[in-house]
């Protein structure tokens, strides 16, 4: 359902600082895939996700979502079919607006905006139902301004907002990296739950090898702007952190250099 063909992204092209962030990547994502993405610093993980999300124009290649060429589409247009959660837990919500107002925007995402009331009894019932599922007591705080929530609560809300309109694709960019360990575990469980129950095709960047192996049905390892391993099925089920690090060293010809990743092993 998502096809990336011969994708290339070069930052500072034609300057001494030229940096090939994505070096001719081909990737086919199947309906319902939950892919975890690992790789060292500067491997091109975030650039790949940002290219798919239309954050910046790419230098070469094409991206197809459901056979539609979205390569040249701008960020907000891509977002109509793609849900995203960022590393910064403050990035995905509007702090001065209430929980229900934020969620209302997410629920109306699939429709065109109109002059209908932003909130309605029907909408509130939907919100209650969804908020009860994430089990943080937010369903009792619909009229609380989001800036009063903790980072973890905000990230949970962002995750809910990104999935509530049933996007075709969900992009998660280290979305638990800025949270404390206990909260991170909660958000990870919530992620698995929301993705599985709605069967959303998902790409998740993580610096946590264990999560990368445990979560999802497919694991992609990136290095130097390329995909060096694409592991799925039985092979992924039998994967261990040691095996994964060894595989990396074989291709890369050196030790893994993602500090945060090594610390979390």
């Amino acid at each position: 359902m998502l096809k990336v063909k011969n994708l290339e992204k070069i930052f500072y092209k034609g300057t001494p600082n030229e940096n090939v962030a994505i070096n001719k990547i081909d990737l086919t994502v199947n309906e319902g895939d939950f892919i975890t993405i690992v790789g060292s610093n500067g491997a091109g993980k975030s650039t790949l996700l940002n290219s798919i999300a239309g954050v910046f124009p790419v230098d070469n290649g094409n991206i197809f979502l459901d056979d539609e060429d979205i390569t040249a589409k701008t960020e907000y247009k891509c977002a109509q079919k793609i849900g995203r959660v960022f590393q910064n837990p403050l990035a995905g919500t509007s702090p001065e607006m209430t929980i229900e107002e934020n969620l209302s925007l997410a629920i109306s995402k699939s429709n065109n905006l109109s002059l209908k009331w932003g909130l309605s009894k029907h909408k509130r019932e939907i919100m209650q139902k969804h908020l009860e599922k994430i089990d943080l007591g937010l369903e009792k705080r619909l009229t609380t301004k989001v800036k009063l929530l903790s980072g973890g609560q905000r990230q949970a809300l962002t995750l809910l907002m990104a999935t509530v309109a049933n996007p075709r694709l969900l992009l998660l960019d280290e979305h638990t990296a800025a949270l404390d360990p206990a909260t991170a575990i909660k958000i990870k469980n919530l992620t698995a739950e929301l993705v599985n129950s709605n069967n959303i095709t998902t790409l998740m960047i993580t610096h946590n090898m264990e999560d990368a192996i445990k979560m999802g049905n497919r694991l992609i390892m990136m290095d130097g702007g390329q995909i060096i391993y694409d592991i799925q099925g039985e092979e992924k089920e039998n994967l261990t952190i040691e095996k994964l690090l060894k595989m990396f060293e074989i291709k890369h010809g050196g030790k893994f250099n993602n500090d945060r990743m090594l610390l979390s092993v």
Binding site: G83, S104, L113
Partner: protein, 288 residues
């Protein structure tokens, strides 16, 4: 301060309160310091005055002012969102161009409206006694504007507008164009400012090309005084705050004049008021 002085301050506070609601939209909702208002306020007055002189119904002249103000906002929006000129400069450019345009609209620097039919002469002719005639009309207009604005900001588009100023990244993730929202916000904001200009012109009995100088600072003063005095718990309360802020601002100006301050010193006083209110939170923090 005698009663008629108080009534005048109240009336001015209401008439300029609509301008303050416009500034509230750009400055607070969109987080866009829009200097267009120094040009769109006299634009509203100019369009309305020119039409009144031509014998047009005064209520229609208000509608024309709203449209003209919206167009001014659209130009600033175009400069910022399409040509990528910084918000502050976009506003300054439109404001500067509007000075020439306002002179063109009026054909001269000043149009007196004495003896012309205005919305105020209309209500006086209905037999409403002083001071209720002007007051009732202004209160009616501002209440309608306030409730329409409150309602709009609670629609789906209104939510998107509010989130655009608060967290543009989030609004893009929701599949909404931040550029369209900015454009829409600037159009509404300047339409309100021009409406206010038209009302002020009809109220004071003339339109003048220089009447817009310092509008943005007066607007900011109203918004900020309102936030300090009334608060900003919800949109409904925040818009009440803006109107109360505008009235309090006009009262403080009147009091300053009564205390013997020269009219030419008012701009300085206004700037000082804004600085004091803007810095209060920081000073309070530092003292703690």
């Amino acid at each position: 301060m005698n009663l008629s002085f108080a009534i005048t301050s109240l009336e001015q506070g209401l008439a300029f309160g609509i301008m303050a609601l416009g500034v509230f939209i750009s400055f607070r909702i969109l987080d866009f310091a829009d200097l267009t208002v120094d040009g769109s306020l006299p634009l509203g007055a100019a369009v309305s005055a020119r039409l009144l002189v031509a014998g047009v119904n005064p209520f229609y002249s208000l509608a024309a002012a709203v449209v003209a103000g919206g167009m001014a906002g659209a130009i600033t929006g175009f400069l910022n969102t399409k040509l990528k000129i910084a918000p502050l400069l976009s506003g300054i450019l439109t404001m500067t161009s509007l000075y020439s345009i306002n002179l063109r609209v009026m054909g001269r620097p000043n149009i007196p409206l004495i003896g012309k039919d205005t919305i105020f002469s209309f209500i006086r002719d209905l037999g409403v006694p002083y001071p209720w005639n002007n007051l009732l009309l202004l209160i009616l207009v501002i209440v309608v504007v306030k409730f329409l604005l409150d309602a709009f900001l609670n629609t789906q588009i209104g939510f998107a507008l509010r989130a655009t100023g608060d967290n543009p990244q989030m609004i893009r993730s929701m599949g909404i164009s931040t550029n369209s929202m900015k454009m829409l916000g600037l159009i509404i904001s300047n339409a309100l400012v021009a409406l206010s200009g038209a009302l002020v012109g009809q109220y004071q009995g003339f339109a003048d090309v220089n009447m817009g100088v310092g509008t943005i600072v007066a607007g900011l003063a109203s918004v900020i005084i309102g936030e300090v005095v009334i608060g900003e718990k919800s949109i409904m309360i925040a818009t009440i705050g803006v109107i109360i802020g505008s009235i309090l601002y006009r009262f403080s100006i009147s009091i300053a004049l009564n205390l013997g301050l020269a009219a030419s010193d008012l701009k300085l006083l206004t700037a000082v008021i804004v600085i004091v209110f803007l810095s209060t939170p920081r000073i309070k923090k530092a003292l703690r």
